[in-house]
Protein backbone atom coordinates (compact mmCIF):
# COMPACT_ATOMS: atom_id res chain seq x y z
CA UNK A 1 0.00 0.00 0.00
CA UNK A 2 1.19 3.51 -0.78
CA UNK A 3 2.42 5.56 2.18
CA UNK A 4 0.60 8.69 1.08
CA UNK A 5 -2.50 8.89 -1.07
CA UNK A 6 -4.16 12.14 -1.93
CA UNK A 7 -7.32 12.39 -3.99
CA UNK A 8 -8.94 15.39 -5.54
CA UNK A 9 -7.16 17.89 -3.29
CA UNK A 10 -8.26 21.51 -3.68
CA UNK A 11 -6.79 24.36 -1.69
CA UNK A 12 -8.00 27.95 -1.84
CA UNK A 13 -6.73 31.13 -0.25
CA UNK A 14 -9.42 33.51 0.89
CA UNK A 15 -7.58 36.80 1.48
CA UNK A 16 -10.84 38.71 1.72
CA UNK A 17 -14.47 37.76 1.78
CA UNK A 18 -15.71 36.60 -1.59
CA UNK A 19 -12.25 36.40 -3.16
CA UNK A 20 -10.93 32.91 -3.69
CA UNK A 21 -7.56 32.00 -5.14
CA UNK A 22 -7.53 28.36 -6.18
CA UNK A 23 -3.93 27.56 -5.56
CA UNK A 24 -4.12 23.75 -5.75
CA UNK A 25 -6.70 22.21 -8.07
CA UNK A 26 -7.86 18.59 -8.35
CA UNK A 27 -4.56 17.03 -7.34
CA UNK A 28 -4.30 13.24 -7.18
CA UNK A 29 -1.04 11.89 -5.92
CA UNK A 30 0.47 8.75 -4.42
CA UNK A 31 3.80 8.34 -2.73
CA UNK A 32 5.21 4.86 -2.22
CA UNK A 33 7.26 3.76 0.75
CA UNK A 34 10.85 4.95 0.29
CA UNK A 35 10.10 6.88 -2.87
CA UNK A 36 11.77 10.24 -3.61
CA UNK A 37 9.51 12.50 -5.65
CA UNK A 38 10.15 15.98 -7.00
CA UNK A 39 7.47 18.66 -7.25
CA UNK A 40 8.50 21.30 -9.76
CA UNK A 41 6.99 24.53 -11.04
CA UNK A 42 7.32 28.31 -11.18
CA UNK A 43 6.62 30.68 -8.28
CA UNK A 44 2.94 30.74 -7.50
CA UNK A 45 2.12 27.40 -9.13
CA UNK A 46 0.92 25.99 -5.82
CA UNK A 47 3.78 23.59 -5.13
CA UNK A 48 4.50 24.90 -1.64
CA UNK A 49 0.78 25.12 -0.84
CA UNK A 50 0.40 21.47 -1.88
CA UNK A 51 3.39 20.52 0.28
CA UNK A 52 1.79 22.29 3.25
CA UNK A 53 -1.57 20.63 2.55
CA UNK A 54 0.03 17.17 2.51
CA UNK A 55 1.71 17.79 5.88
CA UNK A 56 -1.38 19.55 7.27
CA UNK A 57 0.52 22.80 7.79
CA UNK A 58 -1.92 25.09 5.96
CA UNK A 59 -2.87 28.15 7.95
CA UNK A 60 -5.56 30.72 7.18
CA UNK A 61 -6.23 32.31 4.77
CA UNK A 62 -5.38 29.00 3.06
CA UNK A 63 -7.90 26.21 3.46
CA UNK A 64 -8.21 22.63 2.32
CA UNK A 65 -11.49 22.99 0.43
CA UNK A 66 -11.97 19.38 -0.53
CA UNK A 67 -10.06 16.16 -0.99
CA UNK A 68 -8.88 13.15 0.95
CA UNK A 69 -5.32 12.82 2.25
CA UNK A 70 -4.45 9.37 3.58
CA UNK A 71 -1.14 8.82 5.31
CA UNK A 72 -0.39 5.17 5.99
CA UNK A 73 -4.05 4.29 5.63
CA UNK A 74 -5.24 6.97 8.06
CA UNK A 75 -7.23 9.95 6.83
CA UNK A 76 -5.17 12.89 8.09
CA UNK A 77 -7.13 15.42 6.05
CA UNK A 78 -9.90 15.62 8.61
CA UNK A 79 -7.82 15.31 11.78
CA UNK A 80 -7.51 18.09 14.31
CA UNK A 81 -5.64 19.12 17.43
CA UNK A 82 -4.02 16.44 19.55
CA UNK A 83 -4.92 13.63 17.17
CA UNK A 84 -3.08 15.36 14.32
CA UNK A 85 -0.16 16.34 16.53
CA UNK A 86 0.42 12.70 17.49
CA UNK A 87 0.82 11.86 13.80
CA UNK A 88 3.94 14.00 13.65
CA UNK A 89 6.03 11.54 15.61
CA UNK A 90 7.08 8.77 13.22
CA UNK A 91 4.77 10.46 10.75
CA UNK A 92 5.46 13.36 8.45
CA UNK A 93 7.76 16.37 8.68
CA UNK A 94 8.40 19.53 6.73
CA UNK A 95 11.76 21.22 6.09
CA UNK A 96 11.12 24.89 5.46
CA UNK A 97 12.45 26.98 2.62
CA UNK A 98 14.77 29.25 4.49
CA UNK A 99 16.87 27.61 7.17
CA UNK A 100 17.67 31.04 8.49
CA UNK A 101 14.09 32.05 9.16
CA UNK A 102 12.99 28.65 10.42
CA UNK A 103 15.32 28.83 13.44
CA UNK A 104 14.82 30.99 16.50
CA UNK A 105 17.60 33.62 16.48
CA UNK A 106 17.82 33.88 20.28
CA UNK A 107 17.97 30.16 21.09
CA UNK A 108 20.86 27.75 20.72
CA UNK A 109 20.59 24.80 18.39
CA UNK A 110 20.43 22.45 21.40
CA UNK A 111 17.36 24.35 22.57
CA UNK A 112 15.66 23.71 19.23
CA UNK A 113 16.21 19.96 19.59
CA UNK A 114 14.97 20.11 23.18
CA UNK A 115 11.80 21.87 22.09
CA UNK A 116 10.86 19.17 19.62
CA UNK A 117 11.86 16.24 21.80
CA UNK A 118 9.97 17.52 24.85
CA UNK A 119 6.85 18.41 22.87
CA UNK A 120 6.60 14.92 21.43
CA UNK A 121 8.12 12.93 24.31
CA UNK A 122 6.69 9.54 25.17
CA UNK A 123 7.08 7.84 28.57
CA UNK A 124 10.62 6.52 28.90
CA UNK A 125 12.19 9.11 26.59
CA UNK A 126 15.29 10.80 27.95
CA UNK A 127 14.58 14.53 27.70
CA UNK A 128 17.12 15.66 30.27
CA UNK A 129 19.76 18.14 29.12
CA UNK A 130 22.27 15.31 28.62
CA UNK A 131 19.74 13.17 26.77
CA UNK A 132 18.90 16.04 24.44
CA UNK A 133 22.56 16.80 23.79
CA UNK A 134 23.30 13.14 23.05
CA UNK A 135 20.39 12.80 20.64
CA UNK A 136 21.12 16.22 19.10
CA UNK A 137 24.76 15.28 18.48
CA UNK A 138 23.62 12.03 16.85
CA UNK A 139 21.23 13.87 14.53
CA UNK A 140 23.76 16.57 13.67
CA UNK A 141 26.26 13.85 12.87
CA UNK A 142 23.80 12.32 10.41
CA UNK A 143 23.67 15.64 8.51
CA UNK A 144 27.51 15.88 8.60
CA UNK A 145 27.71 18.55 11.29
CA UNK A 146 29.94 18.62 14.35
CA UNK A 147 28.29 18.30 17.78
CA UNK A 148 29.86 21.65 18.68
CA UNK A 149 27.04 23.24 16.68
CA UNK A 150 24.65 22.40 19.55
CA UNK A 151 25.92 25.31 21.63
CA UNK A 152 25.79 27.82 18.77
CA UNK A 153 23.17 30.35 17.80
CA UNK A 154 21.72 30.41 14.26
CA UNK A 155 23.58 33.60 13.31
CA UNK A 156 26.89 31.89 14.05
CA UNK A 157 26.25 29.31 11.33
CA UNK A 158 26.58 29.61 7.57
CA UNK A 159 23.54 29.25 5.30
CA UNK A 160 24.41 25.67 4.41
CA UNK A 161 24.92 24.74 8.06
CA UNK A 162 21.57 26.28 9.06
CA UNK A 163 19.85 24.29 6.34
CA UNK A 164 21.53 21.13 7.64
CA UNK A 165 20.32 21.96 11.16
CA UNK A 166 16.73 22.29 9.85
CA UNK A 167 17.07 18.88 8.23
CA UNK A 168 18.41 17.36 11.47
CA UNK A 169 15.46 18.88 13.35
CA UNK A 170 13.03 17.32 10.86
CA UNK A 171 14.72 13.95 11.44
CA UNK A 172 14.34 14.22 15.23
CA UNK A 173 10.92 12.56 15.30
CA UNK A 174 11.96 9.83 12.85
CA UNK A 175 9.42 10.70 10.19
CA UNK A 176 8.41 8.26 7.48
CA UNK A 177 7.78 11.11 5.06
CA UNK A 178 9.63 14.43 4.73
CA UNK A 179 8.57 17.32 2.53
CA UNK A 180 11.57 19.50 1.60
CA UNK A 181 10.36 22.93 0.53
CA UNK A 182 13.09 24.56 -1.63
CA UNK A 183 15.82 23.44 0.79
CA UNK A 184 18.67 24.99 -1.21
CA UNK A 185 17.20 28.14 -2.75
CA UNK A 186 19.33 30.69 -0.94
CA UNK A 187 22.55 28.68 -1.24
CA UNK A 188 25.30 28.87 -3.84
CA UNK A 189 25.80 26.02 -6.31
CA UNK A 190 28.58 24.21 -4.45
CA UNK A 191 26.79 24.26 -1.09
CA UNK A 192 23.55 23.31 -2.84
CA UNK A 193 25.21 20.27 -4.33
CA UNK A 194 26.61 19.21 -0.94
CA UNK A 195 23.28 19.67 0.89
CA UNK A 196 21.40 17.75 -1.82
CA UNK A 197 23.94 14.92 -1.61
CA UNK A 198 23.33 14.72 2.15
CA UNK A 199 19.54 14.65 1.66
CA UNK A 200 19.88 11.88 -0.92
CA UNK A 201 22.19 9.83 1.34
CA UNK A 202 19.86 10.20 4.32
CA UNK A 203 16.89 9.19 2.23
CA UNK A 204 18.69 6.04 1.05
CA UNK A 205 20.03 5.12 4.49
CA UNK A 206 16.86 5.73 6.44
CA UNK A 207 14.41 4.80 3.74
CA UNK A 208 11.89 7.56 4.38
CA UNK A 209 9.69 8.80 1.57
CA UNK A 210 10.44 12.32 0.45
CA UNK A 211 8.92 15.10 -1.62
CA UNK A 212 11.34 17.73 -2.89
CA UNK A 213 9.71 21.02 -3.83
CA UNK A 214 11.75 23.25 -6.12
CA UNK A 215 11.62 25.52 -9.14
CA UNK A 216 14.90 24.05 -10.33
CA UNK A 217 14.04 21.07 -12.54
CA UNK A 218 17.70 20.36 -13.28
CA UNK A 219 18.54 19.88 -9.62
CA UNK A 220 15.41 17.83 -8.93
CA UNK A 221 16.18 15.44 -11.78
CA UNK A 222 19.59 14.72 -10.31
CA UNK A 223 18.29 13.38 -6.99
CA UNK A 224 14.70 12.15 -7.34
CA UNK A 225 13.10 8.96 -8.68
CA UNK A 226 9.98 10.59 -10.06
CA UNK A 227 9.08 14.16 -10.97
CA UNK A 228 5.71 15.85 -10.91
CA UNK A 229 5.44 19.15 -12.77
CA UNK A 230 2.85 21.63 -11.51
CA UNK A 231 1.33 24.49 -13.44
CA UNK A 232 -1.35 26.87 -12.19
CA UNK A 233 -2.34 24.59 -9.31
CA UNK A 234 -2.58 21.37 -11.31
CA UNK A 235 -0.16 18.53 -11.81
CA UNK A 236 0.44 18.57 -15.55
CA UNK A 237 3.05 15.84 -15.79
CA UNK A 238 4.21 12.87 -13.73
CA UNK A 239 7.21 10.95 -15.06
CA UNK A 240 10.13 8.82 -13.86
CA UNK A 241 13.08 11.22 -13.43
CA UNK A 242 15.39 9.32 -15.75
CA UNK A 243 12.82 9.57 -18.54
CA UNK A 244 12.19 13.28 -18.34
CA UNK A 245 15.15 14.58 -20.33
CA UNK A 246 14.12 12.51 -23.36
CA UNK A 247 11.17 12.21 -25.68
CA UNK A 248 7.90 14.05 -25.80
CA UNK A 249 6.49 15.80 -22.77
CA UNK A 250 3.99 18.36 -21.71
CA UNK A 251 4.97 21.60 -23.51
CA UNK A 252 5.49 23.24 -20.13
CA UNK A 253 7.95 20.55 -19.05
CA UNK A 254 9.78 20.93 -22.34
CA UNK A 255 9.93 24.70 -21.83
CA UNK A 256 11.38 24.17 -18.35
CA UNK A 257 13.99 21.81 -19.77
CA UNK A 258 14.92 24.45 -22.34
CA UNK A 259 16.03 26.70 -19.47
CA UNK A 260 19.07 24.45 -19.02
CA UNK A 261 22.17 23.93 -21.07
CA UNK A 262 25.70 22.71 -20.59
CA UNK A 263 27.99 25.71 -19.99
CA UNK A 264 30.81 23.71 -21.60
CA UNK A 265 29.04 23.24 -24.95
CA UNK A 266 30.29 24.94 -28.11
CA UNK A 267 27.07 26.84 -28.60
CA UNK A 268 24.95 27.64 -25.58
CA UNK A 269 21.33 28.54 -26.13
CA UNK A 270 19.20 29.34 -23.16
CA UNK A 271 15.44 29.36 -23.38
CA UNK A 272 12.97 31.06 -21.14
CA UNK A 273 9.21 30.93 -20.87
CA UNK A 274 7.66 34.20 -22.01
CA UNK A 275 4.43 35.36 -20.45
CA UNK A 276 3.18 34.83 -16.93
CA UNK A 277 1.09 32.14 -15.22
CA UNK A 278 -2.66 32.81 -15.09
CA UNK A 279 -4.47 34.60 -12.30
CA UNK A 280 -5.81 31.80 -10.15
CA UNK A 281 -8.59 33.91 -8.65
CA UNK A 282 -10.34 33.80 -12.04
CA UNK A 283 -12.07 30.69 -13.34
CA UNK A 284 -9.84 28.71 -15.73
CA UNK A 285 -11.33 27.69 -19.04
CA UNK A 286 -9.44 24.95 -20.83
CA UNK A 287 -5.77 24.22 -20.27
CA UNK A 288 -4.15 26.99 -18.19
CA UNK A 289 -0.92 26.82 -20.18
CA UNK A 290 -2.65 27.66 -23.49
CA UNK A 291 -1.67 31.38 -23.58
CA UNK A 292 2.04 30.49 -23.33
CA UNK A 293 1.92 27.25 -25.28
CA UNK A 294 3.46 26.93 -28.78
CA UNK A 295 1.31 23.86 -29.55
CA UNK A 296 -2.08 25.18 -28.43
CA UNK A 297 -5.11 24.20 -30.51
CA UNK A 298 -8.81 24.94 -30.26
CA UNK A 299 -9.51 21.94 -28.05
CA UNK A 300 -6.97 23.23 -25.49
CA UNK A 301 -9.04 26.38 -24.99
CA UNK A 302 -12.28 24.45 -24.67
CA UNK A 303 -11.57 21.88 -21.98
CA UNK A 304 -8.97 21.14 -19.34
CA UNK A 305 -7.01 18.04 -20.42
CA UNK A 306 -6.97 15.13 -17.96
CA UNK A 307 -3.73 13.43 -16.88
CA UNK A 308 -3.43 10.63 -19.41
CA UNK A 309 -0.63 8.15 -20.19
CA UNK A 310 2.39 9.56 -22.02
CA UNK A 311 5.70 7.74 -22.28
CA UNK A 312 6.33 5.92 -19.01
CA UNK A 313 4.20 8.34 -16.99
CA UNK A 314 1.30 10.69 -17.45
CA UNK A 315 0.80 14.17 -18.84
CA UNK A 316 -2.15 16.53 -19.16
CA UNK A 317 -1.95 17.64 -22.79
CA UNK A 318 -4.27 16.88 -25.71
CA UNK A 319 -1.65 17.50 -28.38
CA UNK A 320 0.99 15.36 -26.71
CA UNK A 321 -1.48 12.60 -25.89
CA UNK A 322 -2.33 12.35 -29.59
CA UNK A 323 1.36 12.44 -30.63
CA UNK A 324 2.04 9.75 -28.02
CA UNK A 325 -0.65 7.51 -29.55
CA UNK A 326 0.76 7.97 -33.04
CA UNK A 327 4.21 7.06 -31.75
CA UNK A 328 2.91 3.94 -30.02
CA UNK A 329 1.00 2.85 -33.12
CA UNK A 330 4.06 3.45 -35.27
CA UNK A 331 6.22 1.29 -33.04
CA UNK A 332 3.60 -1.49 -32.95
CA UNK A 333 3.45 -1.48 -36.78
CA UNK A 334 7.19 -2.01 -36.92
Amino acid sequence: MALLEAHDVNVAYEPSRGQRIWSVRDVDLTLEQGEFVGLVGESGCGKTTLGYALTRMLRPPARLESGVICFDGVDIGSMHGEELRRQRRNGFALVLQSGMNALNPVRTIAHHFGDIMKAHARPGDDVTATGIRRRGAELLDSVRLDSGVLGRFPHELSGGMRQRVSIALALALEPRMIVFDEPTTALDVIVQQAVMATIKDLQRERGFSAILISHDLGMVLEVTDRVMVMYAGRIVEDQPARDLAHGLHHPYTEALLNCYADPRADVVRLGGIPGTPPDLSLPQAGCSFTPRCPLAEDICRAADPPLSPLGLGRAACYVRARAGHVEMEASSVQ
Partner: protein
Protein backbone atom coordinates in the same frame (compact mmCIF):
# COMPACT_ATOMS: atom_id res chain seq x y z
CA UNK B 1 8.93 29.76 -27.47
CA UNK B 2 12.50 29.71 -26.28
CA UNK B 3 14.04 33.13 -26.51
CA UNK B 4 17.44 32.29 -27.87
CA UNK B 5 20.27 34.66 -27.20
CA UNK B 6 21.92 36.02 -30.29
CA UNK B 7 25.07 34.22 -31.37
CA UNK B 8 27.34 37.22 -31.02
CA UNK B 9 26.88 36.95 -27.25
CA UNK B 10 28.40 33.55 -27.38
CA UNK B 11 31.75 34.43 -25.91
CA UNK B 12 33.03 36.01 -29.09
CA UNK B 13 34.92 39.29 -29.09
CA UNK B 14 32.82 42.41 -29.08
CA UNK B 15 34.10 45.42 -30.94
CA UNK B 16 35.23 48.24 -28.72
CA UNK B 17 33.79 51.62 -29.66
CA UNK B 18 36.47 53.67 -31.45
CA UNK B 19 38.32 56.36 -29.55
CA UNK B 20 37.90 54.79 -26.16
CA UNK B 21 41.18 53.12 -25.39
CA UNK B 22 40.96 53.99 -21.69
CA UNK B 23 39.48 51.02 -19.83
CA UNK B 24 36.11 51.77 -18.25
CA UNK B 25 37.19 50.22 -15.00
CA UNK B 26 40.63 49.36 -13.70
CA UNK B 27 41.12 47.40 -10.50
CA UNK B 28 44.75 47.20 -9.42
CA UNK B 29 46.06 45.07 -6.57
CA UNK B 30 42.93 45.51 -4.49
CA UNK B 31 42.64 43.87 -1.07
CA UNK B 32 40.03 44.15 1.62
CA UNK B 33 40.73 43.06 5.17
CA UNK B 34 37.95 43.03 7.74
CA UNK B 35 38.68 43.09 11.44
CA UNK B 36 36.65 40.57 13.39
CA UNK B 37 34.99 42.00 16.46
CA UNK B 38 36.06 40.57 19.77
CA UNK B 39 39.13 40.44 21.91
CA UNK B 40 41.40 38.42 19.71
CA UNK B 41 42.55 40.76 16.96
CA UNK B 42 41.54 38.39 14.21
CA UNK B 43 41.24 39.57 10.62
CA UNK B 44 39.53 38.15 7.56
CA UNK B 45 40.95 38.82 4.13
CA UNK B 46 37.86 39.00 1.93
CA UNK B 47 39.67 40.13 -1.22
CA UNK B 48 43.35 39.45 -1.74
CA UNK B 49 45.38 41.34 -4.36
CA UNK B 50 42.88 41.31 -7.23
CA UNK B 51 43.58 43.14 -10.51
CA UNK B 52 41.50 43.33 -13.66
CA UNK B 53 40.09 45.77 -16.18
CA UNK B 54 36.73 46.10 -17.84
CA UNK B 55 36.99 47.72 -21.28
CA UNK B 56 34.22 50.00 -22.53
CA UNK B 57 31.42 47.83 -23.88
CA UNK B 58 32.89 44.63 -22.43
CA UNK B 59 31.13 42.14 -20.18
CA UNK B 60 33.29 40.59 -17.50
CA UNK B 61 32.11 37.88 -15.12
CA UNK B 62 33.29 37.60 -11.52
CA UNK B 63 32.61 34.03 -10.53
CA UNK B 64 32.88 32.22 -7.22
CA UNK B 65 30.93 30.56 -4.40
CA UNK B 66 29.75 32.37 -1.25
CA UNK B 67 32.64 33.90 0.61
CA UNK B 68 34.86 34.18 -2.46
CA UNK B 69 34.90 37.98 -2.12
CA UNK B 70 32.97 38.77 -5.28
CA UNK B 71 30.32 40.90 -3.59
CA UNK B 72 32.94 42.71 -1.51
CA UNK B 73 34.65 43.66 -4.77
CA UNK B 74 31.35 44.95 -6.11
CA UNK B 75 30.89 47.08 -3.01
CA UNK B 76 34.35 48.57 -3.40
CA UNK B 77 33.78 49.29 -7.09
CA UNK B 78 30.53 51.12 -6.36
CA UNK B 79 32.19 53.02 -3.53
CA UNK B 80 30.23 51.63 -0.61
CA UNK B 81 33.35 50.01 0.85
CA UNK B 82 36.92 51.27 0.70
CA UNK B 83 39.76 48.94 -0.29
CA UNK B 84 42.42 48.27 2.38
CA UNK B 85 45.08 48.28 -0.33
CA UNK B 86 45.25 48.86 -4.06
CA UNK B 87 43.32 51.21 -6.25
CA UNK B 88 40.12 51.22 -8.27
CA UNK B 89 39.78 53.77 -11.04
CA UNK B 90 36.82 54.44 -13.24
CA UNK B 91 37.91 56.35 -16.32
CA UNK B 92 40.33 58.73 -14.57
CA UNK B 93 38.54 58.89 -11.22
CA UNK B 94 40.01 57.00 -8.25
CA UNK B 95 36.99 55.44 -6.56
CA UNK B 96 38.66 54.64 -3.24
CA UNK B 97 39.28 58.29 -2.32
CA UNK B 98 35.86 59.66 -3.13
CA UNK B 99 33.73 61.42 -0.54
CA UNK B 100 30.06 62.29 -0.78
CA UNK B 101 30.18 64.70 -3.72
CA UNK B 102 32.57 62.57 -5.72
CA UNK B 103 30.56 59.43 -5.02
CA UNK B 104 27.54 61.17 -6.40
CA UNK B 105 29.39 61.81 -9.64
CA UNK B 106 30.59 58.21 -9.66
CA UNK B 107 27.07 56.90 -9.28
CA UNK B 108 26.15 58.86 -12.36
CA UNK B 109 28.56 56.54 -14.18
CA UNK B 110 28.38 53.31 -12.21
CA UNK B 111 25.07 51.74 -11.26
CA UNK B 112 24.24 48.52 -9.52
CA UNK B 113 21.63 45.81 -10.05
CA UNK B 114 21.10 43.89 -6.84
CA UNK B 115 20.54 40.23 -6.16
CA UNK B 116 17.26 40.55 -4.33
CA UNK B 117 14.62 42.44 -6.32
CA UNK B 118 12.29 42.10 -3.31
CA UNK B 119 14.67 44.01 -1.08
CA UNK B 120 16.03 46.50 -3.61
CA UNK B 121 12.78 48.36 -4.18
CA UNK B 122 10.96 50.57 -1.71
CA UNK B 123 7.65 48.77 -1.15
CA UNK B 124 5.80 52.10 -0.93
CA UNK B 125 7.05 53.53 -4.23
CA UNK B 126 5.47 52.85 -7.60
CA UNK B 127 7.61 51.55 -10.47
CA UNK B 128 7.33 54.95 -12.15
CA UNK B 129 8.45 56.87 -9.06
CA UNK B 130 11.37 54.49 -8.51
CA UNK B 131 12.64 55.09 -12.03
CA UNK B 132 11.91 58.84 -11.98
CA UNK B 133 14.08 59.55 -8.94
CA UNK B 134 17.51 59.11 -10.56
CA UNK B 135 16.35 61.14 -13.59
CA UNK B 136 15.53 64.03 -11.29
CA UNK B 137 18.54 63.57 -9.03
CA UNK B 138 21.25 62.97 -11.58
CA UNK B 139 19.96 64.51 -14.78
CA UNK B 140 18.21 67.48 -13.22
CA UNK B 141 14.96 66.76 -14.99
CA UNK B 142 11.62 68.23 -14.06
CA UNK B 143 8.93 65.86 -12.83
CA UNK B 144 7.22 65.93 -16.22
CA UNK B 145 10.41 65.12 -18.14
CA UNK B 146 11.33 62.44 -15.66
CA UNK B 147 7.90 60.86 -15.97
CA UNK B 148 8.30 60.67 -19.72
CA UNK B 149 11.79 59.22 -19.42
CA UNK B 150 10.56 56.68 -16.87
CA UNK B 151 7.95 55.51 -19.36
CA UNK B 152 10.65 55.11 -22.03
CA UNK B 153 12.88 53.20 -19.64
CA UNK B 154 10.09 50.87 -18.55
CA UNK B 155 9.51 50.14 -22.20
CA UNK B 156 13.24 49.54 -22.76
CA UNK B 157 13.31 46.89 -20.05
CA UNK B 158 10.31 45.13 -21.52
CA UNK B 159 7.58 46.35 -19.19
CA UNK B 160 5.17 47.18 -21.98
CA UNK B 161 2.90 49.01 -22.22
CA UNK B 162 4.55 51.28 -19.60
CA UNK B 163 1.23 52.83 -18.64
CA UNK B 164 0.15 49.46 -17.31
CA UNK B 165 3.19 49.14 -15.03
CA UNK B 166 3.83 52.76 -14.04
CA UNK B 167 1.46 52.81 -11.07
CA UNK B 168 2.31 49.32 -9.81
CA UNK B 169 3.85 48.83 -6.39
CA UNK B 170 6.57 46.20 -5.98
CA UNK B 171 4.22 43.64 -4.39
CA UNK B 172 2.00 43.80 -7.46
CA UNK B 173 4.85 42.71 -9.72
CA UNK B 174 6.41 39.29 -10.24
CA UNK B 175 10.07 38.69 -9.37
CA UNK B 176 11.18 39.05 -12.99
CA UNK B 177 9.20 42.27 -13.43
CA UNK B 178 10.65 43.68 -10.22
CA UNK B 179 14.16 42.92 -11.42
CA UNK B 180 13.33 44.77 -14.65
CA UNK B 181 12.30 47.82 -12.62
CA UNK B 182 15.64 47.62 -10.78
CA UNK B 183 17.42 47.49 -14.15
CA UNK B 184 15.38 50.45 -15.47
CA UNK B 185 16.38 52.44 -12.39
CA UNK B 186 20.04 51.56 -12.96
CA UNK B 187 19.78 52.74 -16.59
CA UNK B 188 18.03 56.00 -15.70
CA UNK B 189 21.15 58.17 -15.44
CA UNK B 190 22.86 56.63 -18.50
CA UNK B 191 25.72 54.96 -16.66
CA UNK B 192 28.81 53.65 -18.44
CA UNK B 193 29.10 50.57 -16.24
CA UNK B 194 26.51 48.34 -14.62
CA UNK B 195 27.56 46.10 -11.78
CA UNK B 196 25.06 43.26 -11.60
CA UNK B 197 25.41 41.23 -8.39
CA UNK B 198 23.70 37.86 -8.93
CA UNK B 199 20.78 39.52 -10.71
CA UNK B 200 19.03 36.25 -11.55
CA UNK B 201 19.77 33.96 -8.62
CA UNK B 202 16.53 34.78 -6.81
CA UNK B 203 14.41 34.44 -9.95
CA UNK B 204 12.64 31.38 -11.25
CA UNK B 205 14.64 29.38 -13.75
CA UNK B 206 12.00 30.18 -16.39
CA UNK B 207 12.49 33.95 -16.00
CA UNK B 208 16.27 33.98 -15.97
CA UNK B 209 16.81 33.83 -19.73
CA UNK B 210 14.57 36.88 -20.19
CA UNK B 211 16.56 39.04 -17.76
CA UNK B 212 19.89 37.84 -19.19
CA UNK B 213 18.69 38.62 -22.68
CA UNK B 214 17.69 42.11 -21.57
CA UNK B 215 21.13 42.78 -20.05
CA UNK B 216 22.82 41.51 -23.22
CA UNK B 217 20.66 43.73 -25.42
CA UNK B 218 21.29 46.80 -23.29
CA UNK B 219 24.98 46.18 -23.52
CA UNK B 220 24.85 45.83 -27.28
CA UNK B 221 22.55 48.78 -27.93
CA UNK B 222 23.87 51.26 -25.40
CA UNK B 223 27.53 50.24 -25.37
CA UNK B 224 27.32 49.62 -21.63
CA UNK B 225 30.09 47.82 -19.80
CA UNK B 226 28.88 45.05 -17.58
CA UNK B 227 30.46 43.51 -14.53
CA UNK B 228 28.44 40.39 -13.91
CA UNK B 229 28.82 38.72 -10.53
CA UNK B 230 27.55 35.17 -10.11
CA UNK B 231 28.10 31.65 -8.88
CA UNK B 232 26.24 30.26 -11.87
CA UNK B 233 28.59 29.45 -14.72
CA UNK B 234 25.81 28.83 -17.21
CA UNK B 235 24.58 32.42 -17.03
CA UNK B 236 28.18 33.68 -17.04
CA UNK B 237 28.77 31.71 -20.22
CA UNK B 238 25.73 33.25 -21.86
CA UNK B 239 26.37 36.87 -21.01
CA UNK B 240 30.11 37.51 -20.53
CA UNK B 241 33.14 37.41 -22.84
CA UNK B 242 35.71 37.13 -20.10
CA UNK B 243 35.54 35.59 -16.65
CA UNK B 244 37.57 35.85 -13.51
CA UNK B 245 37.20 32.97 -11.05
CA UNK B 246 37.65 33.93 -7.40
CA UNK B 247 38.22 31.60 -4.47
CA UNK B 248 38.82 32.89 -0.93
CA UNK B 249 39.39 36.37 -2.32
CA UNK B 250 42.07 35.35 -4.78
CA UNK B 251 41.92 35.06 -8.54
CA UNK B 252 42.42 31.39 -9.36
CA UNK B 253 41.70 31.51 -13.06
CA UNK B 254 40.83 34.02 -15.75
CA UNK B 255 40.40 34.21 -19.49
CA UNK B 256 37.85 34.23 -22.30
CA UNK B 257 34.66 32.67 -20.89
CA UNK B 258 34.29 29.88 -23.41
CA UNK B 259 37.91 28.85 -23.17
CA UNK B 260 37.95 28.83 -19.36
CA UNK B 261 34.76 26.77 -19.16
CA UNK B 262 35.78 24.28 -21.82
CA UNK B 263 39.32 23.88 -20.58
CA UNK B 264 39.37 24.78 -16.88
CA UNK B 265 42.82 24.59 -15.35
CA UNK B 266 41.95 25.16 -11.72
CA UNK B 267 40.17 22.46 -9.72
CA UNK B 268 37.88 25.05 -8.17
CA UNK B 269 36.56 26.04 -11.61
CA UNK B 270 35.88 22.37 -12.33
CA UNK B 271 34.06 22.06 -9.03
CA UNK B 272 31.86 25.05 -9.90
CA UNK B 273 31.18 23.57 -13.33
CA UNK B 274 30.19 20.20 -11.92
CA UNK B 275 27.76 21.84 -9.51
CA UNK B 276 25.69 23.41 -12.31
CA UNK B 277 22.45 21.41 -12.51
CA UNK B 278 22.16 19.97 -15.98
CA UNK B 279 19.38 17.51 -16.74
CA UNK B 280 21.09 16.45 -19.95
CA UNK B 281 24.59 15.86 -18.62
CA UNK B 282 24.14 12.48 -16.92
CA UNK B 283 23.07 10.52 -19.97
CA UNK B 284 24.53 12.53 -22.81
CA UNK B 285 21.10 13.34 -24.22
CA UNK B 286 22.54 16.53 -25.63
CA UNK B 287 21.26 20.03 -25.20
CA UNK B 288 17.53 20.60 -25.52
CA UNK B 289 18.05 22.35 -28.83
CA UNK B 290 19.47 19.11 -30.19
CA UNK B 291 16.46 17.05 -29.13
CA UNK B 292 13.95 16.41 -31.84
CA UNK B 293 10.90 18.58 -31.55
CA UNK B 294 7.49 18.14 -33.04
Amino acid sequence: MSSDLSPDLDGRAVSVPPGSSVPALTVTGVSKVYRVRGRERKTVTAVDDVSFTVAPGAAVGLVGASGSGKSTLAKMITGSERPTAGSITFGDVAVGRLRTGGLRKLHHQVQMVFQDPYGALNPLHTAEYTVMRPCQNFLGMSAGQARQRAAELLETVGLTPPSQFAAKLPHQLSGGQRQRVVIARALACDPGLIVADEPISMLDVSLRAGVLKLLAELRRERGLSLLYITHDLLSARVITDEIIVLNFGRVVERGPTKQVLQHPRDSYTTQLLDAVPNPFAADGAGSPAVRSRT
